[in-house]
Symmetry: C2
């Protein structure tokens, strides 16, 4: 079964030729991996005491978070990216969730961690981790996307890899206490309309959050994918702000101040606002709109098997709900096809889509287009630029294009 | 906020006393963790280039798989257990999924791995990993439970820890190709009613699987929780047999033989059959019936906060569908309460339940009872023994009891 044997090939052999001449049979008679006993059939492997906490196979060592050194001045206040092109399904394993820090990763002792609620409340309160664990918990799968994800693409196709263009996103199951319950405990005063969330790390990152959102679906989370938060994701406590930009999901959460107006701190004025063509800036653009991206084939994941049956796959998400539909084109938009969705469809969570096609070996222009449960349709780059210009860094949810050449090599391109 | 300050305490303070005298405020004025700037607010953490593949916090080092040395002759053909008492939600992180091996863990090169389909088929076929990746894939969250899980409990309360009594289970999202598609490719002959699945490890483990199940919902999986299977879970390829005992989920899957009758190999005759009181053995008891267990409080996770608001939580699952309902008792069955379910309810997946109560500090007898979507109710140990006696090792899905004393210390006990 060589490089050029396709799935269609299998089917033809099965139907038309019969068992004796099938591709598989021929391979069986000549492939030493089948005909000869291999070393691994004769040697015992390692035991159950070897790895109390398991790690990936050594053959998977290329599957890792990657940073782009020139993007930031140093690796402390910096970014790395989730290897989306290596993953499938909708769960991001904890070890591969992208990182964005403003003062590096601290490893805090949970016994010494406190969460304070102060400001316009009836009772200023301080919680230990044990106090928080005594409140009712909920479990939800949510995507977390950095507002700057795909930000380099505003000015054209720039980074050659799905990991780099779109990898500031991950999707895990959180366990946490509804923020509402902690605020009810403190008793928010009538004039308390805003919340300042503050992190305990060296950057002391702060964001203003409207009280409506705080009381709606925010969580004070302590677990991700079943186990404790990872240090780089804010261990032992992080704010979860479903569907909203990642910068608001304060890590190492230590304080929640209730106020009557937003604070206009650094991360909601000079950063994380949308600079328009006329020089004004849109602020408070928190929701991450519907978006999709093809993860395979992509620049880091070329087609290596030649023409014939080919699996295209990708991810779609919306900060406003679910994704009932994704369209895919392989000819730059001449023809659109409904993708096949597979896996749970959960509110404000990643969705996985597939499109299987029989590649004829010609050039491809791949695009995907998400529709969310509100009816919103993912826009083109041109449509976004018409409204917002090209000064922006944040909130680029435009349709992305991969060009695939006859050899299966993929490249980040832009078409109008 | 000392050990005895309860959530109810917070509420009372907030409502009746006012901000000035609230427990939280008093703590704020005296707790150096709040009043003094801490080291971690002044020192930069590590950067994004430090851990391309992340690991848990050093403060979480007690969260690990554990084995029981006396259970098996050596650690190669042995078992370790998922730390259920340390987890929450429904996803088991890959590094903490229990292991059961018959020849140890081998680390295979996926480029040298082959899957063969032979026997009563029109075309005997051999697939490379790349061949398999060209078929349509699906994503499903399924529990995998060893048939021997809770097996020590047939003869009474024996192992003092939820991890040891019930930890031969995990729950992850699989990505794989429906087995049906590979069998269709080979063309199963009319008389092909059984399938022998065989692993590539030194034990060459085999199991007979009826064709109806193979064509229904089985997957040939290559990813778990988004990334490649872990070596100890059969990397690069494992058979997923939803809802059925874990031993059938052949790891390092290398061969599928189609036959007209079961093979009666070791793992389906002398092992993984149910020895009855009269000395006969039930065979082919593949489905894992509905079961639940309280993970907290439990012997490894005592109540440490004293009386007052207490969170009880646990897991429930069924090999026949979903879990619409779990009942909980804290007084050994005198009163039963409907537990609160939280998280996705998925077919043949773990479900998470909670029961919050105000502990009065007296002795507790904790039990949970699962109902599945077929109407089946988890039985008592006595009810199971009445039918099956006590010779069994496998398929114990009985209600489990934890005794909690006035100090919050929990113990595995049995009550009638």
């Amino acid at each position: 079964m060589g490089q050029n044997t396709t799935r269609r090939g299998f089917i033809k052999a099965g139907v038309a030729v019969g068992a004796g001449l099938a591709a598989g049979k021929a391979a069986a008679q000549s492939d030493p991996l089948i005909t000869e006993v291999q070393e691994w059939n004769q040697v015992l492997g390692f035991g159950v005491d070897e790895r109390p906490y398991g790690i990936p196979s050594p053959y998977e060592k290329a599957v890792k978070r990657r940073s782009v050194p020139w993007l930031t001045a140093d690796p402390i206040s910096s970014i790395n990216f989730t290897p989306l092109h290596d993953l499938d399904g909708i769960i991001t394993p904890n070890g591969l969730c992208f990182e964005r820090h403003h003062g590096g990763v601290a490893e805090y002792d949970p016994a010494a961690h406190r969460l304070m609620i102060n400001g316009l409340v009836d009772n200023e309160l301080i919680f230990t981790m044990e106090d928080i664990m005594r409140f009712p918990r909920e479990n939800h799968v949510y995507f977390l996307e950095c507002a700057a994800n795909s930000g380099m693409e505003w000015r054209g196709a720039q980074l050659n890899g799905c990991q780099f263009t779109h990898g500031m996103i991950h999707n895990v199951m959180y366990t946490g206490v509804p923020l509402r319950l902690l605020l009810e405990e403190a008793g928010v005063k009538t004039e308390g309309k805003w919340l300042l969330a503050e992190g305990a790390d060296a950057s002391g990152l702060t964001r203003s959050i409207p009280m409506d959102k705080a009381l709606d679906d925010c969580l004070v989370a302590f677990k991700m994918n079943g186990e404790a938060l990872r240090p780089e994701q804010g261990y032992p406590l992080r704010l979860v702000v479903p569907g909203w930009e990642g910068n608001m999901w304060i890590k190492w959460l230590r304080r929640l101040e209730v106020g009557d107006q937003p604070w206009h701190h650094r991360e909601e004025t000079s950063k994380y606002t949308d600079l328009m063509e006329d020089g004004t800036a849109r602020r408070f653009t928190w929701v991450m709109d519907a978006k999709s991206v093809i993860t395979n084939p992509s620049p880091q994941a070329p087609i290596t098997h030649g023409s014939g049956p080919t699996v295209l796959t990708g991810l779609a998400w919306s900060g406003r709900g679910t994704i009932p539909r994704v369209d895919v084109t392989i000819d730059g938009g001449k023809n659109w096809h409904a993708a096949r969705m597979s896996g749970p469809s959960l509110d404000k969570s990643m969705h996985r889509f597939y499109y299987e096609f029989d590649w004829d070996g010609s050039d491809l222009l791949l695009q995907s287009r998400a529709h969310d449960s509100t009816g919103y349709v993912q826009p083109t780059k041109d449509a976004l630029r018409e409204i917002r210009g090209t000064n922006s860094i944040y909130h680029n949810n435009a349709i992305q294009t991969w060009y695939v050449n006859k050899e299966g090599v993929a490249e980040n391109v832009e078409i109008s």
